[in-house]
């Protein structure tokens, strides 16, 4: 696995340990412990992925997440010791792609990071259509009537996963596995939150989705092209 990871965490021991584990996986690791310096470090390093602790001194993780998302689509994985529904939903809504609850197994974390960094691998040139959208997989672009839409990598992956099999209904569990790299059943709200975010960008009317259609009781599928 190639790529650079920025760890934003105030616990030095954990950050160091994370560094060791991630370097073993072949990743470049940089670290910032303080929320107030997080943004400047982020701009200096330009990481391929951000590993962000929610509870931070200085500026809290949610705010950092929001600011990073405002200027970049870089994958953000939150680290949290809280399983509070509210915190997680706020985190996801502020732009995080995924979250990992402490204590986690290193393999689980690496699987998620790998799923988020996968785009570093050369994708095949592929052109997909979903609804009235045209997706250029290799070029990482989505266009409607020739106008590009700005999606984060995760949203793009989600859209591509649905568009590749236009008639198949994907359960949330399957999407978690394919898009997020979950090995076991995970939090299906993760899917719900990101489908909402995706719809707000790609649908003409997010209240009446035509691109990503809900199949009640089962999951989601790509709309008719």
């Amino acid at each position: 696995m190639k790529g650079s990871v920025l760890i934003i965490d105030d616990d030095l021991a954990l950050a160091e340990m994370l560094g060791i584990v991630l370097r073993n996986e072949g990743l470049e690791v940089s670290h910032v412990a303080d929320g107030t310096h997080a943004m400047s470090t982020f701009r200096a390093v330009r990481p391929d992925l951000v590993l962000l602790d929610i509870m931070l001194p200085g500026m809290d993780g949610i705010e950092i997440c929001r600011r990073i998302r405002a200027e970049s689509g870089v994958p953000i994985v939150m680290l949290t010791a809280r399983t509070d529904t509210h915190d997680i939903v706020v985190g996801l809504e502020s732009g995080a792609d995924d979250y990992v609850v402490k204590p986690f197994k290193p393999q689980e974390l690496i699987a998620r990071l790998r799923a988020r960094l996968r785009r570093g691998d050369e994708p095949e040139a592929e052109r997909l259509e979903i609804g009235d959208l045209v997706i250029d997989v290799a070029g990482h672009s989505v266009k409607r009537d020739g106008v590009g839409l700005s999606l984060t990598p995760l949203e793009f992956d989600l859209l591509v996963a649905l568009a590749r099999k236009p008639h198949q209904v994907f359960s949330r569990e399957v999407l978690l596995e394919q898009v997020w790299g979950y090995r076991h059943a995970g939090d299906t709200r993760l899917v719900n939150v990101h489908v909402q975010r995706l719809r707000s960008k790609v649908e003409r009317d997010p209240e009446h989705p035509e691109v990503v259609v809900t199949v009640r009781g089962v999951g989601y599928k790509a709309g008719p092209s």
Partner: protein, 638 residues
């Protein structure tokens, strides 16, 4: 025709019964109704008794007056008649007849149209004279009015008047009235003794009595109704504040702690209101204190959790790194790395279970329901436990009975999956390599899952203990599996959160069975479980001649009330909301008596930490990701 009558009878019977039961119901349940009804009844009784007494007294007094008047009138008329006869110059019966006729029609019968008296002159009953004058009297009056008894009395004592009251057909008014009959004897020349009877109809007295009785009836009725109305007003003065108090108490019980009674005046009811409000104040203060404590506790657990989790993550990663590299170390260090690795798993499991149970204790556990097919969940759980089953040599089967009934229920899938995983893993671990069956069934309002093993079973009394925290079936038995001892306790809490039941039965050497029953719709009570006869262990299970006792001690841990509800869950929740539901104060309170079995059982838990037989499996095998890190379980943070 007969059918019509029967139908009519049946209808009127059912109407009567309905009315009767309504009245009985009101009598039982409404104080005001009872007060008014009994006042009316008693008032009616008093009025009737009093009226009857007065009526009789007035009646007899009127009658006596009338008799006295009649007697004196008859006396003077009789004297006149006797004088007439005595002075009559008659030689034969015919001339005597005309004398008598003149006497009767001219003097005895009152002149004019108003017949205040009637006269009958008839032969005395013991008159044996051969000469007969014949009976004569007022026109239109038959001599039948005069009874034999009075005639005999007159003959027996000719010197005195005889009086009798008879029912008399009054020709003047053409109606029956009581009448006074006064009889006495007169001596008539030639023909001997004759009886002279005067009949005085009591027209005026009857009219007076009728008038009195009408007045009494109307007056009595009005009196009774007035008394009833007074009783209604008086009872209302008491009942209305009581009802208001009851409504306030109910709202208070429903959790509306700011509810108070209006206390006006200085009477007993105001005193009641004041005492009630004082009680409510005290309750509110205590509840707020408890809530404060609970918040502090939750905050503490949350902080401890957070503080523990971060270093634990570091240790976890370090241990994994060392574990992966253990082949580079010597035997001792390598083994240490392995132990560190496995014990960290246990530590994590224990931490997660402790946090989960503390969430239940704090009443912070919330349901996140979704229509879920329990059969699908069960298969998923069994698939997930396949590797463990293989190691243990157990075969696990899932069957759906009554497959025409749906096994879809509105449950929190994560919690139900956790319950099922606990039960299945538990059954495999204690099933001694024998078959484990998971059976599902649904009925109209509930879905049930029975997980049964054919393993060591439960000794009498143990079925109620398996849900205790850190309970160990047999302290002497070597602990082979890494259960936290909290799995079944958490499962029981999860089941309760659904308003469901989790029950255990078992027999030593035969096996144990656990039944989970959850309602199909959130907030709707379970009538009966789709599996009713779970206590009966099929005979083919028995082996080694193990006893087939119905294991009275292995009773359902959640005792059930008559309605079939677990007793502690039976009272209807005052407020239900669909979907996400917080366990509030009730949860806090309930958590204290959650553990089935003897009081304080939790404190009596086994101190020997090593062995575990029917101890609970971890609620969440970290390996199988039972409590997935990605799954927030409660509302409060950790």
């Amino acid at each position: 025709m007969a059918g019509g009558v029967r139908r009519w009878l049946a209808v009127s019977w059912s109407v009567l019964r309905r009315v009767g039961s309504t009245i009985a119901n009101s009598w039982r349940r409404r104080l005001q109704f009872r007060v008014v009804a009994s006042t009316l009844l008693l008032g009616l009784l008093v009025v009737v008794l009093l009226g009857a007494y007065l009526y009789r007294a007035i009646g007899s007094s009127l009658e006596n007056d009338r008799i006295r008047a009649s007697q004196s009138e008859a006396q003077s008329l009789t004297t006149t008649a006797q004088a007439n006869f005595d002075s009559a110059v008659a030689t034969d019966v015919n001339s005597l007849y005309s004398v008598a006729q003149t006497l009767v029609q001219g003097q005895l019968v009152p002149p004019g149209a108003d017949q205040t008296r009637y006269v009958i002159l008839t032969r005395a009953i013991d008159n044996t004279s051969t000469a007969v004058l014949g009976t004569m009297g007022s026109p239109g009056v038959s001599s039948d009015v005069v009874t034999d008894s009075i005639r005999r009395a007159v003959s027996a004592d000719p010197t005195r008047q005889q009086t009798q009251i008879v029912q008399f057909h009054d020709p003047q008014t053409d109606s029956d009235v009581p009448a006074v009959v006064v009889g006495s004897q007169v001596q008539v020349p030639i023909v001997g003794a004759y009886d002279l009877f005067f009949i005085f109809p009591m027209r005026a007295e009857t009219a007076t009595l009728q008038h009195i009785s009408r007045s009494f009836s109307v007056g009595g009725l009005i009196l009774v109704l007035l008394v009833g109305a007074i009783a209604w007003v008086v009872a209302r003065q008491v009942v209305v504040p009581v009802r208001r108090a009851s409504a306030v108490a109910e709202r208070l019980a429903a959790g509306n702690l700011n509810e108070r009674m209006p206390a006006r005046g200085h009477d007993e009811l105001a005193l009641l209101a004041k005492s009630f409000n004082a009680m409510a104040d005290s309750l509110q203060t205590q509840i707020h204190q408890l809530e404060g404590l609970s918040r502090v506790q939750q905050r503490f657990v949350s902080d401890v959790s957070h503080e523990l989790r971060t270093p634990l993550t570091t240790i976890r990663m370090a241990a994994d790194l060392i574990f992966d590299a253990r082949e580079q170390f010597g035997a001792g260090v390598a083994r240490s790395a392995e132990l560190l690795h496995t014990e960290l798993d246990r530590f994590e499991d224990l931490l997660a279970d402790l946090l989960e149970i503390s969430r239940f204790d704090a009443g912070a556990a919330a349901l996140d329901t979704d229509p879920t097919d329990l059969a699908v969940l069960a298969r998923k759980v069994v698939d997930g436990a396949a590797s463990l089953a293989e190691v243990r040599g157990s075969k696990v089967t899932v069957t759906v009975e009554k497959s025409d009934r749906s096994t879809i229920a509105e449950v929190d899938p994560r919690r139900v999956e956790r319950i099922l995983r606990n039960l299945v893993v538990n059954a495999i671990e204690h099933g001694e390599g024998r078959r484990v069956t998971v059976t599902l069934a649904g009925n109209d309002d509930a879905v049930a899952v029975v997980v049964a093993d054919r393993g060591v079973g439960l000794r009498p009394g143990e079925a109620s203990l398996v849900f205790n925290r850190f309970w160990r079936a047999d302290p002497a038995r070597t602990r082979t599996t890494g259960g936290t001892g909290l799995g079944l306790a958490i499962s029981l809490e999860d089941a309760r959160l659904h308003d469901g039941w989790l029950q255990a039965w078992g027999e030593p050497g035969v096996g144990a069975r656990f039944r989970l029953t959850v309602p199909k719709r959130v907030g709707e009570p379970i009538g009966v479980s789709p599996f009713r006869s779970v206590r009966r262990v099929p005979s083919e299970w028995r082996r080694d001649g193990a006893g087939s006792r119905p294991a009275s001690s292995a009773r359902c841990p959640v005792r059930r009330s008559r309605a079939g509800w677990p007793r502690d869950d039976a009272p209807s929740r005052p407020r239900r909301c669909r979907g996400r539901r917080r366990r509030g104060r009730r949860g806090l309170q309930r958590a204290r008596d959650v553990v089935p079995g003897p009081a304080g059982a939790r404190r009596q838990r086994c101190e020997h930490r090593a062995p575990a037989v029917r101890a609970a499996r971890p609620a969440a095998r970290r390996g199988a990701r039972g409590h997935h890190p990605g799954l927030p379980a409660g509302r409060h943070g950790e």
